[in-house]
Symmetry: C2
Subunit: 209 residues, 2 copies
Amino acid sequence: MFGFLIYPGVEELDLVGPWEMATMWETYADGPGCVTVSQTGGPTVCAKGLKIAADHSFADCPALDYLLVPGGFAALEEARNPELVDFVAMQARQARHILSVCTGSFILEAAGLLDGRKATTHWKLLPRMREIAGVEAVEERFVRDGNVWTSAGVSAGIDLTLAFIAAVAGEEKASIVQYNAEYYPDGRVYGTAHHAQQGSAYFRGLGRA
Amino acid sequence: MFGFLIYPGVEELDLVGPWEMATMWETYADGPGCVTVSQTGGPTVCAKGLKIAADHSFADCPALDYLLVPGGFAALEEARNPELVDFVAMQARQARHILSVCTGSFILEAAGLLDGRKATTHWKLLPRMREIAGVEAVEERFVRDGNVWTSAGVSAGIDLTLAFIAAVAGEEKASIVQYNAEYYPDGRVYGTAHHAQQGSAYFRGLGRA
C-alpha cells in the first residue's frame, strides 16, 4: 500500500504529481494500491484553494509500504504538529521507503528521518535546511539516501516518483507509467527568474550561454 | 477569472498540473483568480480515486475569461452530456481563451470549438481524433489554434499552461510561475514503452540513437 499524506494547506501539485505517477503504476504496471490519509480524514483545503478529501484518518490508516509527504508552506507548521509527526514516524518504522516533496522534507526531519542523511527541498527553503545539524542539504532535483527520498519544489515530485518506481519495480515499469502519463516535458525554460542567486544549483544556470 | 472544469472520472493531473501553474500565476505574477466548477458543484471522485470538491456548479459559475477542460477516459462520455457540453459552449462564447488537456479535446469538439482547427489529445485517442471531419489532429505536445489550445495526455497540461501564460501575460510572468513551481524537469526518459508505433510523433523517437 502506497499512502499519500494530506493536511490543510498542502500544495496541490506536490501531492497530485506523485499520486498520478503512483496510480498509473497501480493501473498499468502492477504497482501497489494508493490511498490518501490525513489526521481526521475527510475534506481539506489545499494551499491554492483546491478542496480534497482524504480516504483515511491517522486512526484508521492501514500499515503502509511507502509513504509520500508533500509540501507547501503549511508543512513548516505541520512539522510542529505532534500527531502528524508521530504518524509519519510510526509508519516509517515498518515502511520500506519514505518520500517527500518540497518542504515535506521538514516533516521528515521532525520525525527523525533525516539524521545523517542527504536531503533537498524547495529552493526557497534551502537556507533553512542548511541550518539543520546532521542534514546535508543538496541542490539537486531529488536525492535518495537509503530508503529516504526527498525532492525539490512542487513539480519535482513527479521526477522523484518516476525514479522511485524505476528503482523499486524496474526501468520498464517506470517506462510504462511515463508513457501512460505522457510525461515527456518540452523542457522549455522561460525568461530569467531562475537565474537568481537563491535558485538551486541544478537549474540556476539553465539557458545561460 | 480562470475556470477549471471537474466531472466524475476526471484525470487528476490533467486538472491539477494546469491548476498549479495558474494559481502560481495568480499568487506571484498578477494572474486572474482561479475556480473549479462542476455540473452540480461539490464532491467528485476522479479517475484514480482522488476526491475533489468543486467551488461552483454550472448554475452559479461566474463568466470566465479562460476555461480549462481536463481529460480522462470519462471525457468521452461527458462529450455526450448535453448539460456539460452546453456549459462549455456557453462559456466559450465570451471567454478569451479555451484550453483542454488530453481527451478534454473531445469535449471541446462536442461544443463545436474545434471546427476547422488543429488540435491534439492523448496518444491513445489520436486515431479517434483523426476520424473527426474538420479537425486536423497533430502529434505535438500542445497546439494553439487561435484562442483554442489543446494538449497531449495528462502531464502535457503543465507545458500547455505555461506556454499559455507566456502568450497572454509575457515570458517573464511565465518565468516567475516556472520558478515558484520549480518546474525544471530532469528530462529523463525511461525504458522503451514510448517507442511503440502508436506513440505520438513528438516523443516516439526520444532516446533512440
